[in-house]
Assembly symmetry: C2
Homo-oligomer: 226 residues x 2
């Protein structure tokens, strides 16, 4: 048993997990374009992972709505459309509202400390590489909901978050995103959550989504993404 950790990132976990993470990242960030055909052989070479793990990873992504599987005809990345975007936005508002209320209702000190911490980490990374910021941004939003004792609901929220962020990346993320006063919005949500003010927190959270949503919907409508 040789414990030789040469390449921590690329060699830990199963090949399937690695393929899943890599592919998801590539799709969400737009590295693989909407509707693009995903040829097994091409990906096999590009990721240096065998066909079976790639196939399994793509099957997993299918259920995340990031990949479509066409029987006997392979896989392709999910298409984008303004209808699709609006549905995601609508569902996020409904489900995150639900989750946030439950999360705050069950709140305790440990949870409070976690959201403060993840907010701080996100703030600190405001100007760093967008990948890092985006991860911390997701962490913050999921931390807000994390106290809801509803695993399925949280899974839905996480999926919808990724579907949504994909549109943001496709629109050229950081550029326009951090220009609005998102910092203030996050602080506002955090404060209301700490104060256990459910209604205010929820209202601010949904507003936060709808603002970004309206902006992206504009882009989609104008056809600059298709």
């Amino acid at each position: 048993m040789n414990v030789i950790e040469i390449d921590t990132v690329s060699n830990e976990g199963s090949a399937t997990q690695r393929a899943y993470q890599l592919l998801r990242h590539m799709i969400v960030t737009g590295d693989l374009k909407p509707g693009e055909k995903l040829k097994i052989d091409g990906l096999r070479q590009r990721l240096d992972i065998g066909a079976s793990p790639i196939r399994e990873a793509l099957s997993l992504l299918t259920s995340d709505n990031l990949v479509e599987r066409i029987d006997q005809r392979g896989f392709r990345t999910a298409e984008i459309s303004s209808d699709n975007f609006e549905e995601i936005l609508m569902l996020r508002c409904t489900l995150e509202d639900l989750a946030l209320r439950e999360s705050i209702e069950k709140s305790d000190e440990a949870w409070e400390e976690k959201i403060v911490l993840s907010h701080h980490r996100m703030q600190r990374a405001k100007d760093s590489k967008s990948d890092t910021f985006e991860q911390l941004h997701k962490d913050f939003h999921m931390a807000l909901l994390a106290n809801a004792a509803s695993p399925i609901l949280l899974k839905f929220c996480s999926q919808l978050y990724d579907l949504n962020i994909r549109y943001r990346f496709l629109a050229g993320n950081a550029l326009n995103y951090q220009r609005r006063d998102v910092g203030d919005e996050h602080k506002g949500i955090l404060d209301a959550a700490i104060a256990r003010d459910v209604d205010t927190a929820s209202e601010r959270l949904l507003n936060h989504y709808k603002m970004t949503g309206a902006f992206l919907a504009g882009l989609l409508g104008s056809g600059s993404l298709t």
Copy 2:
């Protein structure tokens, strides 16, 4: 369009699709018990399908929350618990309410005809083999929602339906289920939907779920399923 028996699935489509359908059926009906280890080799022999398609099918089922994957340690069916059941019930009520309202709002004659037809088919199969009835029962419920132009929402509803029906099967489905006046409840929902009476339809639908839910929650609480 022909109403085909489920058994005809044996040779059509890809091996992965077959494995997926078969396994899902086996899990939902309780043929594979909650928490049971799913040994690839055993399933390979039992279904007469190679390991790769089975693996892929299990990956798909993982994202349906019917199977859990433990890295490097294989697959097992999802556990059951009363918490899990209550979450499913809660989410179904929220999401189906949403979908039903949108579906009725966008209603047209074609949709109206479809729900009448699927209701009739379900009624006709009331006394037949439970598998057939259950399929038509799901068809009816999904037909009610089908007009909602929200593919993701419908997918969530379908997933939650399967998660829920699993509990019904585990409780010894048909036995107690058809004893209550479920026929009347269905008719009531159908009538309200045809009349485009959104509030009544939604109220009846949710009641329909909560009645079954309360019964099953009782069983779960008493520990007769665990």
